[in-house]
Amino acid sequence: MVRACAPFIWRKFLPVPPSRAAARDAAPVVFPQAARAGLANAQLRANLNAATTTIREKRAQVVAEVGDWEELRDAAAAIKDSALHRLDTVLLELEATVTKARGIVHWARDAAEANRIVVDLVRATGADEVVKVKSLATDEIRLNEALEAGGIRPIETDLAELIVQLAGERASHLLVPAIHKNRTEIRDLLRVALDRPDLTDEPTELTAAARLHLRAAFLRARVAISGANFAVAETGTICVVESEGNGRMCTTLPETLITVMGIEKVVPEWRDLGVFLQLLPRSATGERMNPYTSLWAGVRAGDGPSAFHLVLLDNGRTRALADDVGRPALRCIRCSACVNVCPVYRRVGGHAYHTVYAGPIGAILQPQLSGESGQAGSLPFASSLCGACADVCPVKIDIPRILVRERARAVAAERQGLEGATLRRLGRILSDRRRYERAQRLTRVLQRPALRDGHLRWFPGPLGGWGESRDLPGVPAQTFREWWEARERGA
């Protein structure tokens, strides 16, 4: 299905022989190849199906309760656009309000710069470990690796992030990073990682084990790192939405708090939270409200950290901002409703995307952030364009429209390579009668080994993948034109 959507990037569908795959080592593989692993894993598909079905039903129920859901979506899209369309002004206002509240604002052009800022800040405190609230921005810049390289131990405190960290894996879902694992797999992991051979697979028991494990880390932590769901320019307020209380622990108990935030997270006014705090929990976990929403501005004497740093991250966001079609992708509030309804994601899982942002939103956001060449350029094709994602999006991102746009940009990027050269040559052949007929005669000879019942059943080299799901009629023994010419001569 995926393959049929992308006839022009057939090079990507070539199955890689093991030797070459090994040679590629850690280089991420393009989506259609990476999807094979997920599709072949029946356990994974069962886990995903169970989890996404549950959350879709919960979401539908709580969304149906809200009579003005469409008006909220319209307002949310407009609020985000109004901020994006004057992002420089709104960010400067945020900088001013955070600074006034005795927070320190840092600007980072890319991942390396953001990581350097954070590692230096942690080092300056003398701490050798940090507690972390689940944050996609810090996953995106691979902050944990940078911290470890700097001799600092990052401790993920969200249950699912902890599971993924202990397993040495990557997250497979924006919101539920361990969605690919079922309770038995998690039990087996925690039995070993937490040295708790007594654990059963009861979620309450597994959760209690994580609580016990992290309690000591929270109580001794001197530095915490968080992301931000929203930042309010008007008041300098940072908002973190969570369920477990790990976010409150991290943003309240340590002496130093560092928040890494994509520049698109800013909203202009305090009252804007009245819109987003309705849309986000219902779209994300299917709850009317998440258990804890933390809101703070800078530092407050006698309550919480005594030092607060806000790192404003670009890392490709201004690239997305410059594209008038793709710009609305920056409205995204990372609820993952689009992920849970996506027929492609639900079958292949998040790992196939090789990006922090799996699913439909990642398929548009990742190539926008990092450019459309290579692996990221294969993501916009991971879709049937069914449009379910756009229907559920709380900020009304027209994901299919941007997918099509990103496909066009990916094809344009590919034109530089072998594929482009081949297509240009093909264009020359097809646009000239003599060249076309010569090619037909040549093909008639070359096609013999591949011909079955008048159809080509396999294709050589890089065309193999393209032909796997298609029937192309072979060149007939006599074409109509040849028959006509013979008839004219005979007459």
Binding site: E71, D88, L91, S243, I263, M289, P291, T293
Partner: protein, 212 residues
Amino acid sequence: MSAARDELLARIRAALADVEPVAVTRAYREVGTLDRASVVERFVERIEDYGATVIRSSDPAVAVAALLSGRVVIVHELPASLRPSGVELIEDDGLTALQLDEIDAALTTCAAACAETGSIALDGGPGQGRRALTLVPDLHVCIVRVADIVETVPELIDRLAPSAREGRPIVIVSGPSATSDIELARVEGVHGPRRLVVVLHDCPTVMSIPQT
């Protein structure tokens, strides 16, 4: 550092060369329509739905006393009328996280509550204390005045606006801590308090906390 700031702002301005300002139309419901009794009913129904226990009482001190045992942290400003007898009340004087971990419960008031989502909001105002108090102990008992319950989320956010403008930290709480990270099955009781009890206080006149 300022080089990064300048370049980032320049990138943004270059990216926005073609845009027009966007007007925000707020056609959503900002103010609720339910009568007082229905607002309270909805608040109770929704916060119970997320695993909190609700007790209605005209004498909160008595109701609370029946719930609590052991050591309970409170703030100095908590009025005598709300203080239960029969438990050891500890006034917070900057207890460390480790000391708070040894305490059984926190007893606070709240800044506002929201019926539609079954939420209570704390802004560090009188009777509430700093954020750690309602976070580290395993039981949070929160006294909610009926008059402080609003119907909608925009009303709640509006109530909290003065605190936000003052730079006070705010926490919105909807039930005890929970996770859905294992097979999306909801488990109540993770890092934040594993139990949340709301004492609904019907008589607003009893509780007049001096504003500081």
